[in-house]
Assembly symmetry: C2
Homo-oligomer: 506 residues x 2
């Protein structure tokens, strides 16, 4: 086991560098004064170099080969099976790390940093013509990267990029699922909008003091099961979940005149955080204990936010707690569970993905998925992106984008920063979350009652067993199959939408 | 200049690793939940290994030799002089880094960590017999380290350890200065105590809300010149100044029933922070821009706290600001500048160094300096330490320690953690601060008026020119000579004490 143990050692060293980077990035977003940014960028770059040096040591290919031989000779007990998964993940990471020539990595990094920087300014100015050359530059390098990765892995180029964020997920799986949703959603959304037209939603009037919002968020995190001895909640411009296992940092932002959004954003990040906190601490630092990928990660945040927290049962539990924190009378109009549920299930097509509700969100994602595939293959020129965007927004949500690039194809940082292949994870996560919830509900018929009483232990224990503790031992499709007994099936998400928004069972 | 530039490059890489470690240590003390401590320790250890690997690369000796040849051929303009200082500092750091055999470093690190850990528990239990073997173990390894370092540098063993914290400072300088203070202080302290016996000090009655204390601290930091675009104030169990240039993190702790102590502690740390913020940002990461050492660093914190902030002029400026933050009437008893000055200049011999006032503090330091010298040389056995401590406390402050080890030789973390040679810096800092103030006052006769008006720009500009911007270009003695026109002279500190506490000019 000498070679295999050496692999574990390298993994552990790499993990520690990742840990340092994660904490420094958290600090950058949450704590760092503006004057620290140059030095921080240099320090993070230095750690990235050291991380790459560690992950691409020349002895690694031999170590991996010897370790495989060691494990093949070691029999078949569960511990060895775990080691095999660990070695497979290590090898996967190493292949990805050394796939690209150093000069392409350097050029891509430079291009992405420059482009993201430009995007921050140019988006505000709605300056598509200024941004276009940046995106063309990033895309061209991304096409090179995709071609190289595809050549090595035998995947399609787009799949080779998706693989970076969601190992095991393929266009061949996504295409029919997304086609199904595309067929379903327009009529569904129209029906929900029509139904909600006559609904009486009482707006929640602020101001909501920040301290009260924070106390409410902390209390709800505690109910859900967030472990404060191994994590924190802070404030940053964009909410995120960062840090390291054993020390998970989630963030939110507060708005005195609107608590509802931040409240749900905290629960979303709590879902991410619980996944991180629930990973196997014993073998921490080993690839097999890592979170499975972006799709599964998003499934955990959306499970908490969409499947649990926006349910009538949860809001019945939360309503009195909200009123207590904001010192609102029990019979104040709008603060009953029914109205809160109406507030939290409002469907309204809009231009902006990050503002989208649960029903319209997949339209935004599928649009991007299709467009990035066409951009990568060369079927769509960057020059034609705004037109294609406008067309798909009209078809999917009945909204024109026109020359409003700020709220159109320039709204997301992803492509500007070189993140092609990332978008599908969001909707994959929503589908997995619904499929997990359907399974859990089948196995635990008392689930709704438990949620209404604020008891989440069974949910947490089930997710820990089926998802969190499984780390990266299985591919995403195998993990889903093991957890739910079947492959990805969009019927659960559609049924969930129909039940919640139209009151019909599928 | 190829070799010299390569040296700068290595220095920059090392600096970035230091930066990462400093930030992770800040986070550990200020932000980290308890569950993160194991992973944090591992990550910090990994970074320490990488830092050592970088600082002891096998090519360094050749690079240094070639770089010296390059700089000797490069003439004598100021830029080259700066490079020489930089190379000298780099070489000094490298020699220190590679001086010890790896197994001694490993054993010392383990011993110190174990001993410090044990100390935290055993001090609380006043368990000297439990602690003694830990200290013996640490001391024995420290003696080995001192012998090796002395052999390489040609310094005395104690000096070779002092050199780690305060390059250029020698026992031969400290001995007569400390002897002078030892002769002066007992009678002086007795006279001050006698004089203060009849003083009417009105105690400041709380509670003082934490938010108000923080707002007051932040306002005063701003007046003094702390740059909030390049630093922050937070809370930790032990106040400290950490972070990195461009991003200086100071901490304090608050007590609702006593604001006076935290207020002064913040100003103390602000003095440290200003030094860090005032270092040359252009060449950041190069050894010549580093703070000169612990003694000079402490001189900057004590300059702000003792020379400026405890002066009657400063307290006249601060009194109305304090009253405003605590919503206290202008004529409330005790809140006038005179009473505040009495509060802040109270002299009372006590057992605990960190609680000591300005006049008795050097007694604590000189006692430790003498005892650690005797421990290192073997003249004093660890077993005899409590007795020697008791004897010196009686002689210096008229206080017996007896079997109260908690408040005797077990009160400080330093020796437990292997920090031998560190203590003299505290009093060296106090002496330098007084000497700097005497020089500044001579050059700026309007200084007291400026302080009374809350104008600190001239003080800041003077310190920046004389100390901060000089980094490590000069040794401590040369820096002091350049800044004040003469060598270290305790008369300034004594004159300061006599003026402040007895109202007499020396």
């Amino acid at each position: 086991m000498r070679a295999y143990r050496a692999v574990e050692d390298l993994a552990r060293r790499g993990h520690r560098l990742d840990h340092a980077r994660a904490m420094l990035k958290w600090d950058e977003a949450v704590m760092m004064p503006a004057g620290g940014s140059d030095a921080r960028a240099e320090t993070l770059a230095e750690l990235a170099v050291l991380s790459h040096e560690n992950a691409s040591r020349p002895e690694i290919p031999d170590l991996i080969a010897t370790a495989w031989a060691e494990l093949e000779a070691a029999g078949d007990d569960p511990e060895v099976a775990w080691m095999r998964a660990n070695l497979r993940e290590f090898e996967h990471g190493w292949r990805s790390e050394v796939a690209l020539p150093a000069d392409l990595v350097a050029r891509s990094t430079r291009a992405s940093v420059t482009s993201e920087h430009a995007w921050r300014r140019l988006r505000v100015e709605n300056d598509w013509e200024g941004f276009r050359p940046h995106l063309e530059n990033v895309l061209e390098l991304k096409q090179q990267e995709a071609a190289i990765r595809a050549g090595i892995s035998g995947l399609e180029p787009h799949d080779a990029l998706i693989e970076l964020y969601d190992p095991g997920t393929r266009s061949a799986t996504l295409d029919p699922v997304f086609a199904d949703l595309k067929a379903f959603l327009p009529d569904f959304i129209a029906a929900v909008v029509e139904r909600q037209r006559t609904e009486n939603v009482i707006p929640l009037e602020g101001p909501f003091p920040i301290d009260a919002q924070r106390d409410l968020a902390l209390e709800m995190m505690g109910h859900i099961g967030f472990d404060f001895s191994r994590g924190r909640l802070d404030v940053s411009h964009h909410p995120f979940c960062g840090g390291a296992p054993g020390d998970v940092r989630i963030t939110t932002r507060y708005n005195e005149s609107d608590f509802a959004r931040s409240f749900m954003a905290v629960l979303h990040e709590t879902g991410h955080a619980r996944y991180e906190q629930g990973r196997d601490p014993e073998s921490s630092g080993q690839p097999a204990t890592r979170a499975r990928g972006m799709g599964v990660h998003e499934s955990q945040s959306l499970f908490t936010e969409m499947q649990v927290a926006r349910s009538p049962e949860f809001l019945a539990f939360a309503a009195p707690i909200m009123r207590r924190h904001f010192r609102i009378e029990d019979d104040a109009p709008g603060w009953d569970a029914d109205n809160l549920h109406r507030v939290y299930t409002r469907v309204r097509p809009g231009h902006i993905r990050v503002d989208a509700d649960e029903a319209t969100y997949p339209v935004h994602v599928i649009l991007r998925y299709e467009l990035e595939k066409a951009l990568l293959s060369g079927d769509l020129a960057v020059d034609d992106l705004p037109g294609a965007w406008d067309e798909k927004m009209r078809a999917g949500l009945g909204l024109a984008t026109g020359d409003n690039h700020h709220d159109g194809c320039m709204q997301d940082v992803h492509w500007a920063a070189g993140l092609f292949g990332y978008f599908p994870s969001y909707t994959l996560g929503a589908l997995i979350a619904a499929q997990l919830m359907a399974t859990l509900r089948r196995e635990h018929p008392s689930l709704d009652d438990e949620v209404r009483q604020g008891r989440f232990e069974n949910i947490g224990a089930w997710l820990e067993r089926r998802i969190w503790s499984r780390g990266s031992q299985l591919t995403t499709p195998d993990l889903l199959e093991e957890a739910t007994g079947q492959a990805l099936d969009p019927q659960y998400f559609k049924a969930h939408l129909q039940r919640r928004y139209l009151g019909t069972e599928a």
